[in-house]
């Protein structure tokens, strides 16, 4: 069984806005903080994708804010009936820089800076595409400033035809 891995970056420092599009749309824009225009319900829907799991990787400078947001994620999953899997903490990462203190000479005197990144990964199991979209839209709107989220979607695909059938008997005789 092969797996499709789709990575969607939902970081809170995204590229430039498209709020102009929201203002110019025909129907009323969502009241909450501006995101994409909601889907048109009259459009013919394709069958829902099924995901075996969704991995939400969170990164932040502040572990306390990260913990409180993870609590919120778990509560939201409970309310929406989404099964949560593992929650684990990859090792933190400190980026350290030693720069010269003075503009000119005095190389013995340096100043040190540090940027700390803390991680948390939450796994959600067995979701449909629409559940995943709803859950992610809700949680991403509620992302605190300073927390970045990376979403990895894992789905299962059936084996392709050229691998599911045995090769021809004449071919194998010719090779041997």
């Amino acid at each position: 069984m092969s797996r499709i891995r789709l990575i969607q970056l939902g970081s809170s420092c995204l590229s430039k806005a498209n709020f102009q599009n929201i203002c110019s749309s025909g129907f009323k824009a969502p009241a909450a903080r501006g995101l994409q225009v909601p889907a048109d319900p009259t459009r013919r829907q394709r069958p829902d994708l099924l995901y075996s799991r969704l991995e939400l990787e969170l990164r932040a400078h502040d572990p306390a804010v990260l913990d409180s947001y993870v609590t919120f994620l778990q509560q939201a999953a409970r309310h929406l009936g989404v099964t949560t899997g593992k929650l684990w903490e990859p090792p933190r990462h400190y980026q350290r820089l030693s720069l010269l203190k003075s503009v000119h000479i005095f190389a013995k005197h340096k100043v040190q800076y540090e940027a700390r990144t803390y991680f948390r990964v939450l796994e959600l199991l067995r979701l449909t595409g629409s559940t995943a979209d709803t859950y992610l839209e809700y949680t991403q709107r509620m992302l605190p400033e300073g927390i970045a989220m990376k979403v990895s979607r894992y789905a299962r695909e059936s084996l392709p035809e050229h691998l599911s059938q045995r090769p021809d008997q004449s071919e194998s005789d010719g090779k041997s």
Binding site: S11, C13, R33, L35, R59, H109, T117, Q140, P144, E145
Partner: protein, 176 residues
């Protein structure tokens, strides 16, 4: 004759006191000063000099030097650009500097606290404590003007979330 010829022996301290009375600058004792510490080894960033009259007001953020960041102090800028694999760190920093310059120039001496900049999704939220020394009508104009100009320049929704207070003494933490 003996009076003129006799020499008066005085200690160096008495000589300097006599010269002070006579308003003559005393000669420096023979010495050559040396630097025991190099010129820039003392950290002076974010620290304020104590005044003689102890009437210089300091806010809580000014009273705590930069090594207390994340210990006693919080940050003034919340974004995800400096996380591991974060995007556009330099652009965010330049935008923050521009916002702070613009705010300090538009709101003349009215911001009592630091300008707090939060980036959430595609929005920039600017907060701070402002003193109520102008009419509310003028304050509404300043808020709208700031939001409009910054939105146009930074190309994303900018919202001002201000708190106002009557007197400047409300934000003073200590006097030095």
């Amino acid at each position: 004759m003996s009076f003129i010829e006799s020499t008066v022996t005085m200690s160096y301290g008495k000589v300097s006191r006599l010269l002070k009375v006579l308003r003559i600058a005393p000669p420096e004792p023979p010495c050559r000063p040396i630097h025991l510490t190099a010129a820039c080894s003392k950290v002076s960033s974010g620290r304020y000099k104590v005044t003689r009259s102890k009437n210089k007001p300091l806010t809580y953020e000014q009273a705590n030097p930069p090594h207390y960041l994340f210990v006693r102090k919080g940050f003034n800028s919340f974004n995800t650009s400096n996380l591991k694999d974060g995007v556009r760190p330099s652009e965010s920093a330049m935008e923050d500097m521009f916002i702070r310059k613009f705010i300090s120039g538009t709101w003349h001496n009215m911001f009592l606290s630091e300008v707090i900049i939060k980036r959430q999704l595609n929005m920039i939220r600017i907060s701070g404590i402002v003193v109520r020394n102008i009419l509310p009508r003028k304050m509404y104009f300043l808020i709208g003007y700031t939001e409009e100009m910054l939105t146009n320049w930074l190309q994303c929704p900018v919202k001002l979330e201000l708190q106002t207070t009557d007197s400047r003494e409300d934000v003073v933490f200590k006097y030095i």
